[in-house]
């Protein structure tokens, strides 16, 4: 075992980890419920496109929505049953706004669909693009919480990368799904790592695990020893929130920093979460698409905190019921951990792929709303893992000074919540940053739209001017040609033209006839006017 030299990131927090609450019992598989709701948007990127319609019967694992575009993810039926609706359903988001979802009524048979991709006996026989395609078809997204389509991270334009980082840090308090998965499924995770190595050809693979998970570390080390992967190492890192943040973990393990506004790949690093790695193993080696995941159901607001293996689409209320239900006086329900999780208005929303934790809290564990003025103590800057100046950002966000906020690297903020947590004035800092980011993105979009409209308008003006000029030119040319013809005619002079004489004669005749007609008419009118009185 080599001793890996650790880098470190700025700031961070030592938090009560509350992991023991949910690691007492093994991961408990749960049968699918009666109704499963699968939002078409549960990943970063473009919504998936439904390929079934209401009334269709589906088998477990059957593709029900296909990815649309490069960054998108497929969705599969988590159990067998009937598609009963494709409609807007409440989504696990603070707004509770509906998202277009496929609703499946389970038939209780939980029968696998026909014609699913066969398990791959030896993935080494497949090429990197083939494996990546299989991963795409299995609907795998980052299961650490970000839900970025995994295949998009694996399509690299290089032959190899320097470091594959496997994220088993799980730094947020209360969450233990990765911990338990590593304890119970280490060999599967290691097989997933081998597949990733075959695709990415990294020089080294580093599995980062915080030192508060000794059982997981031991299990992963044993699985690695059995699998004998080259240049692959479990690196034990100090427990410090947010060491599981992608950028922070990369800094700890490699000493390198992801460029501001850039991607890890730019420094030759790809990072995958252990849960995602296990899903890759299941997809390739066992032929199972992503239809279930391990979820920690925990908090001081549930009776029996523990980890469940749940089908995607299961109602959160069912997950809570499986954990013994709420305790009296539960006040807040989160998806994710306490530092970065999102609050849900109701538990009648489905479990989505990115949901690693369901956290129910009593009032004792809630944030307070008694904000005082900022005293510029700088505690926020001390703990900021991005080494920002959070209180300066706060002033600029509050003043809507977007230029200054961007100049102070607002978009390098990872919204980890460290600054907010230590603020003695209890200012909801992260909320300010999130709002400012949203506003800036919106303004950018508006500006883009306005720019496009302006360019379109300009082009139109130019086109009109051009057409006008062309018309004028054509007219002028015609006129000139006519003049020339006329001149030529005059030059030709008095040569008698029979045609012209004939026309002139005809004109003369017509004139005479018209004059006669007019005379006749005038006489008639005079007569009439004389008679009229």
């Amino acid at each position: 075992m080599t001793l890996h030299k650790l880098g470190h990131f700025h700031g961070g927090l030592h938090l009560d980890d509350h992991k023991a609450e949910s690691t007492g019992q093994p991961i408990e598989p749960q049968p699918p419920g009666k109704e499963l709701v699968l939002p078409l948007r549960q990943h970063i990127g473009h919504d998936a496109e439904a390929v079934v319609k209401p009334g269709d019967r589906v088998g477990k694992g059957q593709l029900i929505a296909q990815p649309f575009g490069d960054i998108s993810a497929a969705i599969h039926a988590p159990t067998s049953g009937t598609v009963v609706a494709i409609e807007g359903r409440p989504f696990p988001h603070p707004s509770g706004l509906p998202v277009e979802s496929i609703v499946i009524a389970a038939d209780g048979e939980d029968r696998w669909a026909q014609g699913l991709p066969a398990p791959v006996a030896d993935f080494r026989n497949l090429s990197a693009p083939e494996l990546t395609q299989r991963i795409r078809e299995a609907g795998i997204v980052g299961l650490g919480g970000a839900a970025f389509p995994t295949d998009a991270k694996l399509r690299i334009d290089k032959n190899s990368i320097s470091t594959l980082v496997i994220n088993g840090a799980e730094c947020e308090p209360w969450i233990t799904c990765d911990d338990m998965l590593m304890r119970e499924q280490a060999s599967g995770i290691v097989s997933g790592i081998a597949i990733l190595q075959h695709i990415l050809r990294p020089m080294e693979t580093l599995i980062g695990i915080e030192d508060n998970k000794p059982e997981a570390i031991e299990a992963m080390r044993q699985a690695l020893a059995t699998a004998r992967l080259d240049n692959t190492e479990v690196v034990v890192i100090p427990t410090l929130y947010p060491s599981g943040g992608e950028k922070q973990l990369i800094k700890i393990l490699t000493g390198k920093e992801v460029p501001s506004g850039g991607l890890p790949l730019q420094i030759g690093v790809v990072c995958q979460n252990v849960g995602t790695t296990f899903a890759i193993f299941e997809a390739i080696v066992e032929g199972k698409p992503l239809i279930e995941r391990v979820v920690t159901v925990t908090g001081d607001g549930v009776q029996q905190p523990h980890n469940l293996r749940l089908r995607i689409g299961t109602p959160i209320s069912a997950a809570i019921a499986a954990a013994g239900g709420y305790v009296e006086g539960v006040a807040e329900l989160l998806i994710g951990g306490p530092m970065m999780g999102v609050a849900l208005p109701s538990d009648e929303v489905p479990l989505i792929k990115s949901a690693n934790c369901i956290l129910a809290s009593t009032p004792a564990n809630l944030r307070r709303h008694d904000a005082h003025p900022c005293i510029r103590c700088g505690e926020c800057a001390t703990v900021c893992p991005a080494q920002l100046l959070p209180q300066q950002l706060y002033w600029y966000a509050r003043a809507k000074d977007h230029d200054k906020a961007e100049d102070h690297h607002l978009f390098d903020c990872i919204e980890c919540g460290c600054c907010d947590y230590v603020c003695p004035s209890h200012i909801p800092l992260v909320q300010y940053y999130r709002h400012a980011k949203g506003e800036i993105r919106h303004l950018r979009k508006e500006k883009e739209k306005a720019d496009r409209a302006r360019i379109r308008h300009q082009l139109r003006e130019e086109r009109l001017a051009r057409e006008k000029a062309e018309r004028a030119a054509r007219l002028a040319a015609k006129k000139a040609a006519l003049e020339k013809k006329k001149a030529a005619k005059q030059d030709a002079g008095d040569t008698p033209d029979p045609k012209k004489d004939a026309i002139a004669a005809a004109l003369e005749r017509a004139k005479a006839r018209k004059a006669a007609l007019q005379q006749e008419k005038a006489g008639k009118t005079a007569q009439e006017s004389n008679e009229s009185p």
């Binding site: 850039g262 807040e332 109701s346 809290s361 809630l366 944030r367 307070r368 003025p373 991005a386």
Partner: protein, 342 residues
């Protein structure tokens, strides 16, 4: 089930302005105790009077501004300002001096700028400088430490002096006042005496002025406790004390008869109180790590310049106020490198 919606992080806070301020007050106690030991009841009387005045003024102006009174009063920041001001004033300062000082600190320097968090200048030092400029004579009415004094003022005597200006029979200002160590050196130098000559005549104490040295050490201990608790950062005190110490070391080596020793500079005046409690005021100081170091160095340097060549015996207050003005610019130019920034 319906649940309340809130933004992350979803945890109760670990820090509190009120708690921070109370810890600062706690850290001042050793220094206050030693100061009371050497200068008698006056220190405590002043603390009580100034505290009441500060809280009263703050409550009044908040009421006038139609702002919630109780949450602001209970943050203890007015009390900290009052205590810092008192610890810079002569122990037998009359009540009206305290009133004017606290008025300028709380009403003008703090609340008229918008209250805690919005004041560009250190309120206690604004109050102090107003008094120093307006009432120079009263401000030099320091007394000899009790260990050297041949008089004794009890609690009732001290109260009478503070509120009526009357002394017990047989005593008056001339009988009890004595120059502070820094003032002694300054006026001595003006009269053409050298440091070594003065050292024989006046009570230099063990390290830097009888009584004063121990008060400074007590403030140092309180300050170190704040550092250890993480209430203040090391940059300001280290910058201030290092600048003052190094400059005085260099100059006293160059001319030991004209410049007093670093020990005397660090322990003989308000350097420790200033370094750990006054210059560390986060609201009016720099906020970046490097900025705080520069801020401390600036205060230390200005203090040394004023003490050595200026018109006042001590220079902490002017150093702090001048650096307050520079703080926004310092912050702008000392931004730390952000993660991933090239």
């Amino acid at each position: 089930m319906k649940f309340q919606i809130d933004s992350s992080p979803h945890l109760p806070p670990v820090n509190d302005v009120s708690r921070l301020m109370r810890q600062v007050l706690l850290a001042l106690l050793p220094g206050i105790a030693v100061a009371s030991w050497y200068f008698g009841w006056g220190v405590l009387i002043n603390l009580v009077v100034a505290t009441l005045l500060a809280v009263g003024f703050e409550a009044l102006i908040l009421a006038i501004r139609r702002r919630p009174v109780v949450p602001v009063i209970s943050d203890y920041s007015a009390v900290v300002t009052a205590w810092l001001l008192v610890l810079a004033l002569p122990p037998l300062a009359p009540w009206w001096l305290l009133t004017i000082g606290v008025f300028f600190a709380i009403v003008v320097a703090k609340q008229l700028y918008g209250g805690l968090g919005y004041n560009p200048f250190n309120p206690a030092m604004v109050g102090y400088v107003v008094l120093l400029i307006s009432f120079p004579a009263t401000m030099t009415n320091w007394m000899a430490p009790t260990t050297l004094a041949d008089f004794h003022l009890g609690l009732s005597d001290a109260l009478r002096v503070t509120f009526t200006g009357e002394f017990p029979p047989g005593l008056d200002w001339d009988a009890i006042t004595a120059a502070t160590p820094l003032d002694t050196v300054r006026s001595g130098l003006r009269l053409g005496e050298s440091i070594s000559e003065m050292q024989d005549q006046i009570p230099f104490g063990l390290l830097a002025g009888e009584g004063w040295e121990w008060i400074s050490i007590a403030f140092l201990l309180g300050g170190l406790w704040l550092l250890w608790k993480g209430i203040i950062d090391w940059q300001v005190p280290v910058g201030l004390l290092a600048a003052l110490g190094l400059l005085s070391a260099v100059f006293s080596l160059y001319d030991p008869e004209y410049f007093s020793s670093p020990l005397y500079q660090l322990l003989g005046g308000g350097a420790m109180l200033g370094a750990f409690f006054i210059a560390t005021d986060p609201v009016s100081g720099s906020t970046t790590p490097l900025g705080r170091l520069l801020f401390g160095i600036g205060v230390g340097t200005i203090t040394f310049v004023i003490r050595s060549w200026g018109g006042y015996p001590d220079g902490i207050a002017f150093g702090v106020l001048l650096m307050n003005m520079a703080a926004p610019m310092i912050d702008e130019y000392t931004r730390p490198r952000v993660y991933g920034e090239r």
